[in-house]
């Protein structure tokens, strides 16, 4: 089993708000992330796939295909978007880094045909990242 990781970057705006909370609860729970006008980050995405090395190609996965899938399923949808307003998952889910990692996993997992998705890592800043391994 060999693991391969591909990195990508995207920039997006978001804010944290739960309509079930009172304004005070939202402010207390989410702090400055609750500003309804949004704020943004340069996110770094790391997608790790695993599989056996194909004896004919020497590849775990066709990198071109992986890159195209990441571009089509993730970056085209998230890059330079306001996540709460433009990305369907976040019409209802709060676009925390946790939920972004889960959403990216759910977008990619059914579309990767040759290799198996192992981990989605999303850096919100260099000092904060979330890993999702597809665990329930």
């Amino acid at each position: 089993m060999v693991y391969l990781t591909r990195k990508a970057e995207f920039s997006a705006a978001h804010y944290y708000h739960n309509p079930e909370f009172t304004p005070e609860e939202n402010a207390r729970t989410f702090g400055k992330c609750n500003n309804p006008n949004g704020h943004g980050h340069n996110y770094t995405l790391e997608v790790t796939v695993k599989g056996a090395v194909d004896p004919k190609s020497g590849f775990v996965v066709d990198l071109k295909q992986l890159k195209e899938t990441m571009n089509r399923e993730v970056l085209d949808a998230l890059d330079h978007r306001f996540l709460n307003k433009e990305v369907p998952e976040f019409f209802t889910l709060i676009p925390t880094t946790e939920n972004i990692a889960i959403a990216i996993w759910q977008r990619l997992a059914p579309k990767l045909n040759s290799a198996q998705l192992h981990r989605v890592r999303v850096y919100e800043t260099p000092d904060l990242f979330v890993d999702f391994y597809g665990e329930a």
Binding site: Y16, N18, E20, F21, T29, F30, G31, L93, I94, P95, T96, T97, E98, N99, A101, I102, P126, D127, L128, F129, V130, D131, F132, Y133, E135, A136
Partner: protein, 137 residues
């Protein structure tokens, strides 16, 4: 859904690697320039990984304000700009970064209740790092 969240923190401290269980010569041999009796220092980067179910109401594994607050109060304030050799946890243990990982892991394991502690990883320099995930891991 279970996710892992990692946060990085920094502090600066001095230490000297020297074991009372070895002779002066053995200490010099084992620890090399880290055995310099005057000590030396590092800018340590600490990565703390916690895990848990993503809360349906907040979208979070744990509120970063809680994690940051705990780590600043119990880890950063404890170690930043200190001489590690003079601290109680290093009176018998040599303040290697291995032992520092274990000490910080134990502080979090004892006191942090907002998420499950997975791992403590420390970069002593850009070129070396150590991690501890508890016994049996």
């Amino acid at each position: 859904m279970k996710a892992h969240l990692t946060r990085r923190y920094m502090f600066s401290a001095s230490h000297r690697l020297h074991s009372e269980q070895m002779s002066e010569e053995q200490n010099r041999e084992v620890y090399g320039k880290c055995n310099n009796p005057y000590g030396h220092g590092h800018n340590y980067t600490v990565e703390i990984t916690v895990s848990g179910q993503v809360d349906a109401q907040t979208g979070m594994v744990c509120n970063l304000v809680d994690l940051d607050g705990f780590v600043h109060q119990h880890v950063i304030q404890r170690y930043d700009h200190r001489n590690l050799n003079l601290m109680q946890e290093f009176t018998e243990n040599v303040p290697t970064t291995e032992n520092l990982c274990i000490a910080i892991y134990e502080i979090l394991e004892r006191g942090f209740r907002k998420a499950h502690l997975e791992k403590v990883r420390i970069e002593e320099t850009m070129m070396n790092s150590f991690e501890y995930a508890g016994e049996g891991r």
